[in-house]
Symmetry: C3
Subunit: 359 residues, 3 copies
Amino acid sequence: MLVRTEKPWPLNAWYQAAWASEIEDKPFARTLLNEPVVLFRDAGGTVHALEDRCCHRATPLRLGEVVPEGLQCGYHGMVFAGDGKCVVIPGQDKIPPQARVRSYPVVERQEFIWIWMGDPDKADEAQIIDYPWNDDHENWPHKHGMYHVKCNYMLLIDNLMDLTHIPFIHRNTIGGGNQMGQVNATMDVKKTDMGVHYIRWMEGIVPPPTYQKGAGWTNETRVDRWQEFEYIAPTAVTQWTGALEVGRGAKQERTQKGGFSLRLWHCATPETEDSCFYFWTPANGYKPEDAEATEVLFQEIATTFVEDLEFLESQQAAYDRDPDAPLVDIKHDAARLPARRAVERMIRAEETRPAAAAE
Amino acid sequence: MLVRTEKPWPLNAWYQAAWASEIEDKPFARTLLNEPVVLFRDAGGTVHALEDRCCHRATPLRLGEVVPEGLQCGYHGMVFAGDGKCVVIPGQDKIPPQARVRSYPVVERQEFIWIWMGDPDKADEAQIIDYPWNDDHENWPHKHGMYHVKCNYMLLIDNLMDLTHIPFIHRNTIGGGNQMGQVNATMDVKKTDMGVHYIRWMEGIVPPPTYQKGAGWTNETRVDRWQEFEYIAPTAVTQWTGALEVGRGAKQERTQKGGFSLRLWHCATPETEDSCFYFWTPANGYKPEDAEATEVLFQEIATTFVEDLEFLESQQAAYDRDPDAPLVDIKHDAARLPARRAVERMIRAEETRPAAAAE
Amino acid sequence: MLVRTEKPWPLNAWYQAAWASEIEDKPFARTLLNEPVVLFRDAGGTVHALEDRCCHRATPLRLGEVVPEGLQCGYHGMVFAGDGKCVVIPGQDKIPPQARVRSYPVVERQEFIWIWMGDPDKADEAQIIDYPWNDDHENWPHKHGMYHVKCNYMLLIDNLMDLTHIPFIHRNTIGGGNQMGQVNATMDVKKTDMGVHYIRWMEGIVPPPTYQKGAGWTNETRVDRWQEFEYIAPTAVTQWTGALEVGRGAKQERTQKGGFSLRLWHCATPETEDSCFYFWTPANGYKPEDAEATEVLFQEIATTFVEDLEFLESQQAAYDRDPDAPLVDIKHDAARLPARRAVERMIRAEETRPAAAAE
C-alpha cells in the first residue's frame, strides 16, 4: 500500500524547500506539505519563509515585492517582516497584534534552503543533514536540478531503494549492458538510525553507456561496479556510485584516481500527497577538473531521471484509482521495506507524542 | 471570511445577464447563479431567457436555432416559445402540458439585459437600477466591456470598495504618481438603503498617468481629484471620478468643463460561487465630442481591470484552500464592510421570509 | 432520467474492446467499464487482456513490452502470462502464487476483439453477436472507425433509436432533403429477446445528399427509403439502410442491384459512466467493387457522426448538472424506451441473481 500511516509525512523535520540559488530578492512561491509558502531574500541576504496569504484579504504575498521592511502585499500594501509580523499598514498608524502571517524557520546551508514546517520550538539545526560535497566545487563539481513530479514522495524513495529497475527503465543510459548482471548484484543492506544504507556490487561487468562515455571505456572493458545508497528519513537519499577496471581492487579501495565515480544528492520534498519536488545534483568525482565532463554528467542524469517520471506518475495514478488493492513484495524490496518503515516510525512518533508522559 | 451567509447571493433581484448588443437572433448561452440559461432575440426583437435544457432529452437549447415560433432544439426539433411552453413537437399533434422549460423574466433597458432568477411573481421592473448615462451617447460616449473572472462576485465588489489598492495594483495606469497621497485621501462613507456610498478627495495631488494622457497634464500639474462610488446590492457599483486643476474649485462644482471626468458602470454577475461576469463601461465625460478619447479611455480601463484579475483569482484560490482561516479588518475597509453587510441583509431576508407571518 | 438502475451496465456480457487491427505485439491500454485493461497479441498471434497494474508496485503494464513468456512490466521486469500468472521475477527463483494480475476472457472474431468483464465462468462464446458482413469484404467492403465520446454509452444508443434527429442534426449529410418527410416516416417497432428491432419507411421521398452522392441521384429523383435498426443489449446496434427509385418495389425486395444500400455496425463500449468508445464500420453494399465509393462512404459517415458528438457530450454535461430533473417522453421514443428497458433488465437480472434459488 502507498501509505500505512494516518498522516502522509512527519511535520517535525527539516525539508529542502529550494536550492539556495532559486531564492532572490523577489517573492518565490512553492507549496510544501500542502501549505502555500512564499520565500524571499531580504536586503541583508537572509532568506525567510512566510505563509503565502496576506492576513487582510487572503491575497497571496507572492504577488507583492520585497521592500526594506520585509515583504509587501501587492494589493493594499501591508508589509510583513521575516518573522511574520505586519510592520506597515499604509495609512494606518496602529497595527493590531493579530495582523501577522505564519513564518517558518529557515536555514541556508551547503547550497540548500531548509525549512521546518512543524512546531518551531522543536526546530534544531543540528538535525540538518550534512552534505559537504555541495561546498567542495574543486573536488566535486556539480550542477543542481529539480523536477516537479506528480507522485507521492515515497514512490520516488521506493525507486531509489530498488535498483533492479535500472536495467529495465534505464537501459539506454545508466542501465544498459548486462541486464541480469545488474539484477543479480550482491546486496548488503543495513538499517540505520534514520533510515537504511545499502551497497550493491557488480563484479566483472560490462560498464553501462553513461560510464563508458564518462571514463572512455568500451563494451570490451570489464569493471567492478558499486552502488552505495543511504536513505535518511523522511526525504533524502545520498548516493555514491562508480566503477574501476577489474583488477584494480575496487572493493578494497574505491577512492582511487581514474575509473568512474559520482555522488548524487536526491531529495523528494512533498508538495501534496500526490506530488513532490525532486531535487537532485550529480557531482563529478572522476574528472573534477573537466567542466565539460561535469556538464555531460548533468545531462546524462537529467535524461535518466526523466525516464523515471512516466513510471512514477503512472504508478501514482494507478494507486489513486484503487488504493486498497493488494500488492506483493519481492526479494528486491530488501531496502525499500526498511525505508518505508523508517518514515512510518517518524510519523507514528509524532502521532503518539502528545500522549507520551515523558514528553 | 468570504461568505457569512448560508446562500451565496439573493435570488429575488435583477441581475445583468448581458449587454443588449450581445443578444442577437441566435441562441446565446450563459450560466447565471449556477443555472444554465439561454437567451435569444425573437423575430419581433424581444429578448427571452430560457433554461438551457430541452425537457425531452436534456439537450442544451443553445445548440438549436431561433425560428418564428421561438427557440428550436437542434436534436429532435421541439420548439419552445419565450414563455417556456413547447409549441411544436415535429410529427406529434398533441403537446403534453408538462412539455415546457423554465423561462425567466427579462427586461431590456439602457443597453442592459436584466434577468430575474428568483420567484417570477416578485419581479418588479421598478426595482431595476436607473443608469441614464448609457442612453446619453452625446454627453457620455462609451463602449462596453466584459471580463469572465474566476472569483466570487463579492471579491470584485470588495475591490471597488477599497481604493487604496489603486496606487499598488494600478501604479502604471490609474494609480501612478503620489502613492501615499492616494492612500491618504479623505474618505466620506454613507450607508444607503441598498448599499453604501462614498467619496474620496485627494487635493493638490499629481495626476496619475491615465489622467495626464486624457487631459494633457504633466507631472508638474497639481489637481484636486475625486472618486465617488456607490454600491447597489447585490452586484452593481456606479462610479464618477475625475480631477480639476487646483484653484478651479472642484470641491464646490465638479461638473465644470475641462479637466478629467469619467463615469464607470461596474456589475459583477455571479456565474457560480467561484466565478462571475464583470460587466463594465467607461463613459468619457471630459472630451465627449472626441471619439479617439473615448477609445483611449476604454483601452486604459481595459488594461487597468486586467491588472486586477490576477489578484482576484489568486485571492479566490487562497480562500478555497482554507475558507475558515481568520482575516483582519483594517481602516480602509470602511466602505467594504457595509457593502458586505448590505448583500448579507438581502440574502438573510430571503432565508427568513418563508417563516414571516406577514408574507 | 439517465440511469434507472443501481449499476450502469451489466458485467456478464461480451463487450467490444477494440478492432482486431488495433492489437499488435505491444501493449495496448484501454479503460473498459471503469477498469484499466491492457491488451496484447502474443508471439503466437493470440490476443490477451490483463489488468493494467503490476501486482508488485502497481505500475501500469502498458509501460512494459511483450516478451516470449508474456507481458513484461517495464519497472522491475516481472513477466505475466496471458492467464495473469507471474512467470518471471528477475533474480528470484520462487514465484509466490499471489503474484498474479487479473486476466479477462478474450475472443477475436469477425474483426472484433470481444472481452468479458464479469464472472469468467459465465463467459459463453455462443453469446457473441454474429456479424458476418465484417468477414465479407467482397460483397460488403468496409473500413473501421472509432470515436472516444464523453457521454454515457446509453445516450449513444438513444441517438440510434430515434432517427427523427437525422433531419435536424444531419441536415447537411444523411438528413438533408425533405425534413418533415423524414420525421413522419412509418415506424414498425418489435421487441426482441435481446433488445428491439425497427424499420422505418419513407416512400416517394427526395434522397439526402449522401445518397445522391453515392447513387448518382439528384434532387429530382424520388426514392423509397428504408432504415432498419436492431439494438442488441447492452451495446450493439446493427443497421441496414438504403433506397431504390420509386417503382422498383423496394418494400417487396430490398436486395436488388443498384440504388443505395449500406450496413453499419455501431457499438458503444463504456469507458466510464460518462464516456464510451464508439466503434463503427460502414459497409458499402451498393457499389462493392468500387473502392473509391467505400472510401467516400466512410468519410461521409465519419463526418455525420462528428455532428452527433457535440450533442451527445453536451447532453451528458446537462445530465450531470442535474441528474434528477424530470424529462418528457414523446411519440418518437417508441424504440428508445424498449431499448432502455432491455439493458435495464440485463442489469437487474445480475443484481438479483445471487438471491435466486435456482442459480
